[in-house]
Symmetry: C2
Subunit: 136 residues, 2 copies
């Protein structure tokens, strides 16, 4: 497993349209990628800085994990994601050393990446996502 | 002002030595940079992924902002930092459009960067740092 860098920072927001205004201004980017990820019950807007992306996450249903997160902690950073070269190898290596994963097999996340989440109990309170870029 | 990318993610931890273990393993990096930033009452360990850094933050005094953060929210992501080309220009531009800054003039942060913090009330709940790389 090789970590290639910070792929994105996921931020839980109440309202994509309102919250996007600050990020558009800061990142000078009026053309984010928008995508709904039904599996995770979120709608996203993704701003690419050229070196790491900002992924805004709005709940699309009342039982979305984003609703629970905001109720408990308020709006803010929900997870951080690292790009890996080989997601299956990463899962194997992490399980072998006792790191607790939320998923045992990769699933498809935003932009078609193969993803897995590491449980915050293994990371010191941070929800960490690993993602392998799809082959185009 | 131009954002050059995600410079680092700052993570509030109870204990640098214990929390570093996971990040050393994940990032395959046993040689973080350690630094105490007296001004901010924190000790840091910085892991460079090659594309964005992870900055662990431990309080060095009971009145450190990291103590208050962990009491309120638990261990986890404390702030995210973007590299900018020109910090003074960034401050001017953000003030002009009504973004609330915590600092009005740059101060010196980890690794000698000139830094400024944007208040979470202007960002949608995220503490955002901007940092200009020092000229070596």
């Amino acid at each position: 497993m090789k970590i290639l860098g910070i792929e994105h920072i996921g931020i839980a927001v109440n309202n994509l349209e309102i919250n996007a205004q600050f990020w558009q201004l800061l990142l000078n980017n009026n053309d984010p990628i928008t995508e709904e990820i039904k599996d995770q019950k979120v709608a996203t807007e993704i701003f690419d800085t050229g070196m790491g992306k900002i992924e805004l996450l709005e709940a699309t249903s009342l039982d979305s994990p984003i609703v629970k997160f905001i109720e408990k902690r308020g709006q803010g950073v929900h997870h951080i994601c690292f790009q890996v070269d080989d997601i299956k190898q990463a899962i194997e290596e992490l399980i072998k050393v006792g790191i607790e994963l939320i998923d045992k097999t990769p699933r498809v996340g935003a932009e078609g990446y193969l993803i897995v989440f590491i449980h915050p109990s293994s990371t010191g309170g941070v929800l960490v996502e690993l993602a392998e870029k799809p082959v185009n």
